[in-house]
């Protein structure tokens, strides 16, 4: 694959008052035709507020529109644009170039996810694992049968799980996890944090079911509390906290 290097200044008249530029290295790989990944380099002008996603879209617009990248909301809500930015899993739309404090920005597909092409990875496994832990309120009665119109919760009860309900399924945590790096069957921090989200929900009666699912050889016990999941989570979910609470619960230390 050819190495492309050019200045966007001449070709991107929409970015006028540019004072700085950054070398953006994009990992290119098509599993159907390439043996290994290669980097393409672009010099991109940026402002204080320019995000890595905007820089990639700039490349698509002005240099090479074949760069594969997944995005949608551009505001850290859809969870589509996770990638390795200078080696660390981050959301491209939530990472400003200026905050990286580097003249070179390298973007690669997230590890622990199969690559579709370039920066886009497959999420099937993450969704399967998420689904496996039954991410919904389980109880025998339903709202329609109950004489109450809704299942009441006190504000304190909501506080127990609301943090974990912030998960946008971006997969950054699974990409950062050292266990996931060597064990692709591990259920992973994303799903475990969601297991805790429902276990901690006072409306839910499905604990036995859910705990059985994660209490297996590739389940919760593979977590070594390295904490990397929590350090990369862009929504403050803190999966490591949820996982330790779950394990404390399974070990009988917590109610």
């Amino acid at each position: 694959m050819a190495q492309v290097s050019s200045t966007a200044d001449e070709q991107a008249p929409n970015l006028l008052s540019t004072s700085k530029s950054v070398l953006l290295k994009i990992s290119r790989f098509n599993p159907e035709s390439d043996d290994s990944s290669k980097f393409m380099e672009f010099s991109i002008p940026y402002q204080k507020w320019t995000t890595v996603l905007e820089a990639i879209l700039d490349v698509k617009k002005h240099f090479d529109h074949s760069v594969a990248v997944r995005y949608s909301c551009r505001q850290a809500t859809c969870g589509s644009c996770g990638m390795l930015i200078n080696g660390k899993p981050r959301l491209a739309c939530f990472t400003k170039i200026s905050e990286l404090d580097s003249d070179v920005v390298t973007v690669e597909p997230m590890n622990n996810f199969p690559v579709i092409r370039d920066l886009a990875v497959r999420f099937e496994k993450l969704f399967d694992k998420h689904q496996k832990i039954k991410p919904y309120v389980i109880r025998d009665d339903t709202e329609l049968e109950s004489d109450q119109r809704e299942f009441l919760q006190s504000p304190e009860e909501v506080e127990q799980y609301i943090q974990f309900a912030n998960c946008i399924k971006c997969g950054l945590c699974n990409s950062a996890c050292p266990t996931m790096a060597t064990d692709s069957s591990f259920v992973g921090p994303q799903a475990l944090a969601q297991a805790y989200r429902y276990v901690a929900d006072s409306r839910d009666k499905g604990n036995d079911d859910r705990l059985n699912i994660i209490d297996e050889s590739h389940g919760i016990w593979r977590c070594h509390f390295a904490g990397s999941c929590s350090q990369v989570c862009p929504k403050g979910v803190d999966p490591a906290m949820g996982i330790q609470f779950l394990r404390g619960y399974l070990l009988g230390f917590r109610n």
């Binding site: 790989f29 599993p31 290994s36 990944s37 080696g87 660390k88 597909p109 997230m110 590890n111 622990n112 996810f113 199969p114 690559v115 990875v121 506080e159 127990q160 799980y161 609301i162 943090q163 974990f164 912030n166 990409s175 950062a176 050292p178 266990t179 996931m180 790096a181 060597t182 692709s184 901690a200 070594h224 509390f225 390295a226 904490g227 990397s228 929590s230 350090q231 990369v232 989570c233 862009p234 929504k235 403050g236 979910v237 803190d238 490591a240 906290m241 330790q244 609470f245 394990r247 404390g248 619960y249 070990l251 230390f253 917590r254």
Partner: protein
Amino acid sequence: MTKDENNGGIKRMVNPNRFGIERIAYLLMRLTGLGLLGYFIAHVYETSNILRGRMGWDDFLAMTQTTEGHIFLVLVIGMCVFHTGNGIRIMLGHGGVGVGKPARPDYPYDPASQNYRHKIGIYSSIVLAAAAMMYGMAVMFGE
């Protein structure tokens, strides 16, 4: 690494960069655990030399009186102390102790589970291990 899976593999697992002191502690815990396991097996083998009688025992023990033997034992002391100290921290953490409590997250989303209590636990395990190694060196090399 197969590109199909794109798993980070052992290379990514043992790379302690970018994820703070907690990830370094994770790596040290694994290395010291394996080191101690190796030492434990070697220790069983070593002590079985007693079956060769007093001469055999003394011969083998003489190995620990060399400079290399001293350095090896200093390393074992360090591994033991760090692994025990950090092990107690991890066991508490695994039980859900000292990992913070759920709260509505706010930007910049500093995770409550990666808090100063656990950081102090890690740093003090490292400092204790270093102190024990220095004491060991003073005893062994100071004769």
